[in-house]
Amino acid sequence: MKKLFFLLILGLLYGCEEVIDLEVPSAPQKLVIDALITKSIFDTQKASVEVKLMNTSDYFDASIPTVSGADVKITNVSTNEIWSISESDDKGTYSMENVVLDTLSPYQLTITIEGEIYEATSQLVRSVPIKSVVQGDQTLFTGDETEIILSYQDVKDREDYYFIDFGYNNYFVGTDKFYDGSDFSFSFFYDEDFPKNEEVFISMLGIDEAAYNYFRILLSQSGQGGGGPFSTPSSTLRGNIQNSTNPENFPLGYFRISEKDQVPFTAE
């Protein structure tokens, strides 16, 4: 919210943007683990697992290298049931469909690569169904924006955090701190590049407070300016995964288990 404010204000004033050539430092590669288990909000137990492994690359490189041949396992901590997640045809992506998720149990992710073991624990975080997505007619700043109004009924007395994918690289994370238990709606504004007359899926995932902080910082780091009065100092973003064999060599990335709802939306 605060970041939005400042981007708007800076844009409003006499300012100009220019892509420049800049030399940035280069750091040794780091392993990145993007692990997500999602269960549809309407399904009692069936879930899908997707784990993406990659290494960091230099900032201006054209691609990010994936990591193949890792051993990926997910264990139900209460029952010790193990799922072996195998690599799919998509290199670096390890997935499994139609698993039966124990909604009350924590799960441990264990990845072994070249003798080092990476571990993380997570548990299902509940969400709520999306009541509606409708297009509005307001604009925000340039007058070319497309407004989308998202509505949902928040659950009272439960600390809820939401990760919302609005499609086309538009993401948002929110907290119910100021609207706990309410029938809540808010507007999101797409810029003029957002396609019209094309079906896009809007999804809403439940996350916990630690994941909310992680994604809030990730989104802020991936779009905001370095330097300038409104930046907060950036530094390495740690997730919830550790390297048990060699703690100094920690991986980046996050492991989360979310309840998910997804609705289609077509802008006019």
């Binding site: 919210m1 943007e17 892509v19 990145v32 990659m54 706990d180 300038g228 907060t232 530094s235």
Partner: protein, 786 residues
């Protein structure tokens, strides 16, 4: 309590020092045309090799052995006055000086007189007259107080678009800014593009960067003391200016001829109206109002009533509205107990408000600080060699961190009120300036502060009193769980208090045309601006010290060498070292918006700054100006909470966001003819510290940069040239006017205000995008006076 006998002892010393029979020459110094009191006028008695200076209310007093003397009165911009006074008994002499546009002629006074002034033990002080401020070319043609002071050494900002300013490597919340003795919390309009001070309403400005006298306290880096004009008590006058972006108007006149006056000033921008014309529904504007009423009851009593009201408004197509600003109201009473004892009592009410309405979320947020302040300051001009300042100051604060409510019926927002905080800051001070010998003088003082944080609802308790814990497994800092609340919520009872003694000392040694000065001061700061952005923003909240936030504590040493080459040239060089304990920093990604328990994201550390300042000035002749160069370092260290954790940046020292290694400003003004004056600036600075990414990765479809340690890189160097020309047509009697033509950033350098690292959504590659605020900006302003 141990210190009090010390204070009493030195107070007593003075009454015995002046054993000879002493007579006093005292009075008020005003400008003859308007009766406006003049601050900082020099009154000299060359025969006795002594002199004094008029105070912030235009009052002067000098006590010497009885006799008849020649007295010289000098002030820049006014005709020098020379008169003979028979001081066989106390004489009250009110002096009215005539303005002159001619340069001061060195006919009456020899250069040794300058030394008297040079020997005064005040260092690290910059004064600016309203005239100098108006002459410096600026963006959009608007003369500006904060832009002008940044041309002086040791003063900079965190970049274009940054609110506030940084003094000697200090943070923007460490500056005590006062307007007619009232505290101003936000000194900028529109993110630093304008200051909140209308230059036409200002009489005098002093900026203390170090050697801060005991009269001031509460902010560790500097004191910016600004006094407004009282208004012309002889006749009605108006002056103003019309510019491309903003305009201002001042009306002043007598309430009762020669006894009372009023001043009314208004200023505002209207650039947003151009946006409306082009169908752009957004607007950003500010306005401010200055008012002052002054009345002289009799020769010993004067009263002033001042007010200031300013607001900034940002409106983005009705979806988003932000409003913030200061309001201040104060009543002051100058009373002369005797020709040697001057006093000023101030009663001040100040309010800083900030509010946000987000219609697209349905959310309305109001926040603010309110304070009541009582100050009683005394100045005792004991002899011409000894002056004593003492007084008391009491401030009561109420902080509203946020009142949240729905802004329309269809909003799902629940109303809530974040817990209000209250605090009290009280101080006693005494400070003496003594000329020990012909060359050696000293200023020493002590300030004693007592700060109380009162009880409130919602003051949390944590296990082991640790609101932040370190998760060693994940290698991150986390907020600790709240284990309960302080049981006593009584807002009249103290839950934490601090008592501090602050010694202040300056020594000065003066010889022919040069002087050496050294100073030490200790200052504590009890209010902190909670902000983890590089520069303050209007949404940032001020928080008082308490059980989890300790007061910042500064020790500053400075050493300076001052030399006057002849009447035109002077050189000031200073080196300084500052050490600040309890400087806060934030855990990575701390979310400060509407955060009720700030202590859960704070880490305590320290900061330090050191540097060299050089100011070379030419103050007379057709060409005047100065060159200011500062070489400095400002860094901080946040070592961790003692749980085996590394702290920020591995516990090493790292640059503060406003560290500027080199800062060079050259400014000049040339009177080409009687009608034309040319002004120019050249500014060159090291780029600000920034963190560049050292890699990239992708999570949940988000392509993110990877970063290493904080603030290890620099933005490109900042430099620009500004020029302006002022045209004043001849023969102006009743209606005086001038045109100012200016160009900001003459060679259109796109200085980086920030660099964003993001993925280009069309090409799907990463790019570095430089954002710059001002390219070349021409401006025209029309100023008038009648």
């Amino acid at each position: 309590m141990k210190r009090h006998p010390f204070v009493l002892v030195f107070l007593f010393c003075f009454f015995f020092v002046s054993a000879q029979k002493n007579t006093t020459l005292s009075g008020l110094i005003t400008a003859s045309e308007s009766n406006e009191s003049l601050i900082g006028v020099t009154i000299l008695i060359p025969e006795l090799n002594t002199g004094t200076v008029s105070n912030s209310y235009g009052f002067y007093s000098i006590s010497v052995p009885s006799g008849t003397y020649e007295v010289y009165v000098r002030f820049l911009g006014f005709k020098e006055l020379k008169t003979q006074i028979d001081l066989s008994q106390n004489v009250e002499l009110n002096i009215a000086l005539d303005e002159t546009s001619e340069e001061l002629e060195e006919v009456f006074v020899s250069s040794s007189i300058e030394d008297i002034i040079l020997r005064k033990p005040q260092m690290s002080l910059n004064s600016l007259t309203a005239k100098t401020i108006r002459q410096t070319p600026t963006v959009l043609g608007e003369a500006d107080v904060l832009k002008a002071i940044q041309l002086l050494p040791g003063i900079s900002s965190a970049g274009e678009g940054a609110s506030g300013f940084n003094v000697r490597g200090g943070a923007a919340d460490q500056n005590l800014i006062t307007l007619d003795e009232a505290i101003i919390f936000n000194s900028s309009h529109l993110f630093g593009f304008f200051s909140v001070f209308n230059p036409d309403a200002i009489k005098d400005l002093k900026l203390y960067k170090g050697g801060i006298p005991a009269k001031y306290g509460g902010r560790v880096s500097s004191v910016l003391d600004i006094y407004q004009k009282e208004g012309n008590s002889k006749e009605f006058k108006m002056n103003g200016g019309i510019g491309l972006i903003s305009s201002r108007l001042i009306a002043e006149g007598p309430l009762e001829k020669d006894k009372g006056s009023f001043l009314l000033g208004a200023r505002g921008t209207y650039a947003h109206l151009f946006l409306k014309l082009s169908d752009n529904p957004n607007s950003a504007y500010f306005y401010d109002l200055n008012t002052k009423l002054s009345y002289q009851f009799d020769k010993n009593n004067r009263m002033y009533l001042s007010g200031y009201f300013g607001r900034d408004v940002f409106n983005i197509d009705q979806s988003f509205l932000a409003v913030y600003g200061n309001s201040v109201f104060n009543l002051r009473w100058n009373h002369l107990f005797s020709p040697k004892l001057f006093s000023n009592l101030s009663l001040i009410y100040s309010d800083y408000y900030y509010g946000l309405t987000l219609d697209f979320v349905g959310f309305n947020w109001d926040s603010g600080i309110r304070n009541f302040n009582l100050k009683y300051d005394f100045k005792n001009y004991i002899t011409d060699k000894t002056t004593l300042n003492f007084g008391v100051n009491a401030i009561h604060y109420t902080f509203n961190p946020g009142s949240i409510e729905p802004n329309r019926d269809t909003s799902g927002i629940n109303p809530s009120q974040l817990d209000k905080k209250t605090a009290f800051e009280g101080s006693l001070y005494a400070d003496a300036t003594q000329q020990i010998s012909e060359r050696f003088s000293i200023q020493y003082g002590l300030r004693i502060n007592h700060f109380i944080r009162f009880g409130q609802k919602g003051m949390n308790l944590y296990a082991n009193d640790q609101p932040v814990i370190y998760n060693a497994q994940l290698g991150i800092y986390e907020s600790a769980a709240i284990t309960g609340e302080y049981p006593d919520t009584n807002t009249s009872k103290s839950i934490e208090n601090y008592t501090h003694f602050e010694p202040r000392l300056t020594l000065s040694y003066g010889a022919n045309e040069y002087s050496l000065k050294v100073s030490y001061n200790r200052i504590n700061q009890y209010l902190h601006l909670i902000s983890n952005t590089n520069s303050p923003t209007p949404l940032d909240v001020w928080a008082p010290s308490g059980p989890y936030i300790k007061p910042q504590q500064l020790d500053q040493w400075a050493f300076g060498y001052f030399k006057k080459y002849n009447t035109s040239y002077s050189l000031q060089t200073e080196v300084f070292y500052k050490d600040i304990k309890n400087r806060l920093d934030y855990i990575d990604g701390a979310d400060l918006v509407a955060n009720e328990a700030i202590e859960r994201v704070l880490l305590n550390g320290k900061s330090r700054a050191y540097g060299l300042e050089i100011l070379f000035k030419k103050s007379q002749g057709a060409f005047q100006g100065w060159l200011a160069y500062t070489l400095s370092k400002s860094e901080q260290q946040t070592p961790g909470i003692g749980q085996g954790d590394p702290g920020i940046n591995q516990g090493e020292w790292y640059d503060t966001p406003y560290d500027k290694t080199h800062d060079l400003s050259i400014t000049g003004s040339y009177q080409l003819s009687t009608k034309w004056r040319l002004n120019g600036n050249f500014i060159l600075q090291t780029g600000q510290p920034v963190t560049y990414p050292n890699g990239q990765y992708e999570i949940a479809g988000i392509v993110a940069p990877n970063y290493g340690l904080r603030n290890e890189n620099r933005l490109p160097a900042y430099h620009r040239v500004d020029i302006s020309a002022t045209y004043s047509p001849k023969n102006q009697k009743r209606w005086k006017n001038e045109w100012v033509f200016g160009i900001y950033n003459l060679y259109n350098r796109k200085n980086a205000a920030s660099i964003a690292f993001r993925q280009n959504t069309k090409t799907m590659t990463n790019e570095a995008v430089r954002f710059s605020i001002f390219g070349i900006v021409p401006a025209i302003t029309y100023n008038f006076k009648f």
